[in-house]
Structure formats: C-alpha cells, structure tokens
C-alpha cells in the first residue's frame, strides 16, 4: 500500500478516516441507545409512582356521598393520601395533585440525570407523567 501515485501520494491511510467515522458513529449510536434505555427505566418508575398515587387518592371516597347513593371523592383526604404515597415511595420527586369530586389526577415530575449526553451539554431530562383515577364500583 505504499506505491506512489503520480503526484507522489500513496493509498496508505485512506481507510483511516472511514474507520474513524465508523467508530464515532458506532459509539454515538451505542451511547444514545443506552441513554434512551436508562431514560425509559426512569419513566417506568415515575409512571408507577403516579399510578399508585392516583389509585391511593381514588380509594378515599366520601362516606356522606356514599350514603346518599352516589360515589364521590373526599377531596381533602384523597389529596393527602396521594401526597403521602408519593412522599413514601419517591421522596425526591415533585408531585402536583388535582382533585375533583369524580376524579383525582396526579402529575409526578423527576429530573433524571443523564449519564452519556452530558458530553453534548445535556445534563438532565425532566420526566413528567400524569395519571388519573376515579372511584368506581365493581
């Protein structure tokens, strides 16, 4: 691979840029896939917390409404139950809770620190999941 071209150039080193580009692309793809997988895992955690909190809140039915023949939420108790659930399962997550008589919606937010993308200047990603639940018979 050292035969000289007419201009004095050789073929030596012509694969090197290709090798460099391929390795760069390959490592970038692997890093992105790993990051997305970790992000997905964190999303599952947050979604599970939001679901549990909404369900905990939806279990707090209003006894007075129940005696009247309808099902409604005891709004203050439902909100407290959902808040307590989030605090006990994921203390570092932020939660906002909206309660109406028929439904409770819990939004859980987590700032997920990224492990690979900080190289590109992205340090964390906000994961936000909303889950709603309503009391029902059955």
């Amino acid at each position: 691979m050292t035969a000289a071209k007419p201009g004095g150039r050789t073929e030596a080193g012509s694969v090197l840029p290709l090798l460099g580009a391929l390795i760069f692309v390959a490592f970038t793809v692997i890093a992105l896939v790993t990051e997305i997988a970790l992000l997905h895992g964190a999303f599952l955690d947050v979604a599970s917390t939001a679901d549990g909190a909404a369900e905990a809140g939806a279990a707090m039915v209003d006894p007075a409404a129940l005696h009247g023949g309808s099902i409604g939420l005891a709004q203050a108790t439902a909100g407290q139950a959902a808040e307590h659930y989030v605090r006990s399962v994921a203390p570092s997550d932020d939660a906002s809770i909206e309660v109406t008589i028929t439904e409770i919606c819990v939004t859980v937010e987590r700032e997920h620190p990224l492990s690979v993308l900080p190289i590109a200047g992205i340090r964390s990603q906000l994961i936000s999941v909303e889950a709603c639940a309503a009391p029902a018979t059955g």
Partner: protein, 116 residues
C-alpha cells in the same frame, strides 16, 4: 489506469468492507443486548404493576405469567411486588449468557378490597 493502481483500489475497497463489518460485529450485539434488557425490564415492570394492582384491590394472587418469578410482600398499607425474569443476553452456538432482570412495583392497599 495501470493494473497495479487497480489492484490498490481493490485492496482499499476490501479493507473498507472488512472494517465496516468489524464495527458492525461489535455494535450489533451491544445494541441487541440493550434492546433485550430494556424489553425485559418493561415486561417485568408491567407484570409487577398488574400483580400489585390486583393484590391491592382483591387481596388474593392473580394467575401470573410463567416467564416471571413474582414475589409479593406487604409493607404497611402498600403491596410491594417484585417480578424477575431471565433474559438471554448473548447466545453463540450452544453457549448462552443469561441475566436476571426485575422490577419492583408498589400499589396502595384499597380499604375496600374484597379479601384481606
């Protein structure tokens, strides 16, 4: 173009193909591994969550998927379910590397559940 120059171009082409194949041979198993692990984690998470919801609402164990080993514990007013499953991460010929992947799900015990 002389025969020698054509030969050099051919060698460069072969080198490029070999290098590309080598990079792919390293990347594809890693990407496949990441995909399998993520898929297994998602499946374990869904299984754990559905079992936790069922136990929290009804009290008894539902029929579970055979692929998962499910462990149910109670922590105060919360049902804690761990679902583990085995994933074949790499399989070359008869040799296999299996990894256990699991997830934990929690569900608040309903005060109105049908059995304790």
């Amino acid at each position: 173009m002389s025969r020698r120059r054509r030969s050099e171009h051919g060698v460069v082409l072969i080198e490029a193909v070999v290098v590309s194949f080598a990079v792919l041979a390293i990347c594809v198993p890693v990407l496949s591994m990441a995909a399998r692990l993520t898929d297994a984690r998602t499946a374990a998470s869904l299984e754990a969550e559905s079992v936790a919801s069922w136990v929290a609402r009804h009290g008894d164990l539902p029929s579970t998927d055979d692929r998962f080993i499910v462990d149910v514990q109670t922590d105060g007013n919360t049902v804690v379910v761990t679902a583990n499953t085995e994933v074949e991460v790499i399989g070359i010929g008869g040799a296999r590397i299996n990894v256990t992947v699991g997830d934990v799900a929690r569900a608040p015990i309903s005060p109105y559940r049908s059995s304790p």
